[in-house]
């Protein structure tokens, strides 16, 4: 194995199979150092591979753990009330009667009302940023501001709602002649509507930007107006993406706790109309969890959490599936 290579430049001939050894000439030192380190590196490499795998397993364990915890801790309530839990119209912890229909209704009313109010705004922003004005400082500013809506903490929305919005709603209620409390489902929906705008808006924007230019051009070349292009090309192309955005907004609205808790009025009675005070599943848990003084009561609240968990997860998964379907 002789070579004519200039000695100084020649790499060391080192065995590296089982237990590597080599001539200790000065010019091989750096190669040796390199290889000796490499043995340590291989061990480190294996440790690293194992670590990230354990972390990935841990995420699965975490979620399974959450489900088991919720299911196990709500077992008392599930045993005692069964499915009647969901339809029961009375929530009276003192008499150990736990029916969550008022909260179910409260949650659905606030969430869907909020959705109805916010969707036109979300879609407008999505069209504004995705189709009409995709570039420039103004749309950039709008985009950042809309993202900021999602960044403001919900407790701040709640506080502002309590101090500013509720009095306004109260005078509005007085004007139209309903029971003027201010606190209630209507106020909650208004706050929620603002809070959930960004979710559908940003997803809608990216979906609208994904519409192939040649489809739009084909329509324009046939003499379509902008509105017709939007209605005939963009909307059909993006409808499942837009729907996914609405789903994500809905999931957010269903689980929102603080802002709602602060302005909904917190009563366990069934709301008579959208101006009545009420409670949502999340707000009941927030209000009563630390006051639950006996096991069945606590367990009922956790079952409420379990229901909330299942509903929001299902809604979110539908949204995510739709997004995945669209991006493929």
């Amino acid at each position: 194995m002789e070579t004519s290579v200039d000695k100084e430049l020649s790499p060391a001939r080192v065995k590296t199979g089982a237990g590597f050894s080599s001539k200790k000439t000065p010019d091989t030192v750096s190669t040796n150092k390199r290889l000796k380190r490499s043995h340590r590196q291989i061990r480190a490499e294996n440790i690293f591979r194992r670590t990230i795998m354990i972390v990935a397993v841990a995420t699965v364990v975490l979620v399974v753990g959450i489900m088991i915890t919720l299911a196990w801790q709500s077992r008392l309530s599930i045993q005692s009330a069964g499915l009647g839990f969901l339809w029961g119209k009375v929530w009276d912890p003192v008499r150990d009667i736990f029916g969550v229909y008022p909260f179910l209704l409260g949650t659905l009313l606030t969430s869907f009302l909020a959705l109805i109010i916010s969707v036109p705004f979300s879609f407008a922003v999505a069209l504004f940023l995705g189709e009409y004005f995709p570039k420039g400082w103004m749309p950039d500013l709008l985009k950042n501001l809309v993202e900021l809506i999602a960044a403001v903490p919900s407790v701040i929305y709640g506080f502002w709602g309590l101090a500013v919005l509720v009095p306004i709603v109260r005078s509005f209620e007085t004007a139209i002649g309903v029971n003027a409390v201010g606190l209630g489902i209507f106020s909650s929906s208004l706050i929620l509507a603002i809070m959930i705008i960004p979710y559908a808006a940003s997803l809608g924007r990216s979906m609208i930007q994904m519409v192939p230019a040649n489809l739009k051009e084909a329509a324009y070349s046939l003499g379509a107006t902008r509105w017709e292009v939007i209605r005939m090309v963009i909307l059909p192309y993006t409808k499942s993406g837009l729907f996914a955005g609405v789903m994500l907004s809905l999931g957010r609205a269903l689980g929102e706790t603080m802002a709602v808790t602060m302005v909904i009025g917190n009563t366990s009675l069934i709301p008579k109309n959208i101006f009545s005070p009420g409670n949502t599943m999340a707000s009941v848990i927030a209000n009563e969890f630390t006051e639950a003084d006996h096991p069945v009561y606590l367990s009922a609240l956790i079952e409420l959490g379990l229901v909330l968990f299942v509903v929001t997860v299902v809604i979110n998964m539908i949204g995510k599936r739709l997004i995945k379907g669209v991006s493929k």
């Binding site: 407790v155 689980g255 969890f289």
Partner: protein, 281 residues
């Protein structure tokens, strides 16, 4: 004929106007809220406000030092738990795109992202508060860490997936072991994306209240013991805002203002960092 065309053009213009009006209308409540909070809060903030403890009802003055320190400890602990964990998980997902474990892990991250924060509070209550027999800031941090996790994992995974394979190949061809390829080449090249995810997740959990209600619980005194109940800014805002006392409302306005400024700063900072640290590929 020309009337029909005019009608169509008019309809198109009308729709465009509607879109513009609605879009700009979205921003009005946000600006209204920002200005209102800043106005109501900024006058309450002074040195005493930042360094004193809250006074009992009836005495004016007092500050929110306990909540500031508490928030820093709670959020800091949550970050220490969630950031390394989230980044490592993101690395796993981007490096093993098609493995079964990656599929399940991704599904779980999606689920985690959708869980309402109050439910995570319940779980943290049973995992740490009940066994330790006391509300504690540690349990609050744990709940917040669970909330941070999906954001960090997702941003890490998405950033790393965008890096070209040639980068990995260049590193492997130099005889670099897997962990060095990842930690010395892949992660540094994606650092701007990862950092923006981390900072947004910190901004997000700083304002979270619901998971702290029955974990960190709140505390009118200053404490740094993570096994004891601890005050935090959003908890303080919630408790004082829903109280009937004007002095407490003032504290809550000041606290809201600080929380808001912090969140705004983090968001602006994220934008700057993303631009500055972006590695030109």
């Amino acid at each position: 004929m020309s009337v029909a065309i005019k009608y169509r053009i008019g309809k198109s213009t009308a729709f465009k106007t509607l879109v513009i009006v609605l879009s700009l209308a979205c921003v009005v409540p946000l600006l209204f809220i920002l200005v209102y909070i800043l106005q109501a809060g900024i006058t309450k903030i002074n040195w005493n406000f930042l360094t004193n403890l809250p006074k009992p009802v009836g005495e004016s003055g007092g500050g929110i030092a306990n909540a500031l320190v508490g928030t820093m400890i709670i959020v800091g602990t949550a970050s220490i738990i969630a950031i390394p964990f989230g980044i490592l998980c993101g690395i796993y997902l981007s490096e093993n795109k098609n493995s079964k474990l990656a599929y399940w892990s991704r599904l779980c991250i999606d689920i985690l992202q959708g869980i309402p924060s109050i439910v995570i509070g319940i779980v943290a209550y049973f995992w740490l508060v009940k066994p330790l027999n006391s509300f504690s800031s540690l349990s609050g941090s744990m709940a917040l860490a669970i909330m941070m996790l999906p954001i960090v994992v997702r941003s890490t995974e998405e950033t790393l997936l965008l890096l070209p394979d040639s980068l990995r190949e260049a590193a492997y061809a130099l005889g670099m072991p897997f962990h060095r390829v990842i930690l010395k080449v892949i992660v540094p090249c994606g650092i701007s994306g990862i950092m923006s995810g981390v900072m947004l997740s910190v901004a997000r959990i700083t304002g979270e209240t619901a998971p702290l209600l029955f974990t960190a619980f709140g505390n009118p005194y200053l404490t740094t013991d993570i096994t004891k109940p601890m005050q935090s800014l959003p908890l303080l805002i919630f408790n004082y805002a829903t109280s009937p006392y004007n002095d407490w409302h003032d504290l809550a306005w000041g606290a809201s203002c600080i929380l808001l400024i912090w969140v705004l700063l983090l968001n602006i900072f994220t934008k700057l960092i993303t631009r500055k640290w972006k590695v030109q590929l």
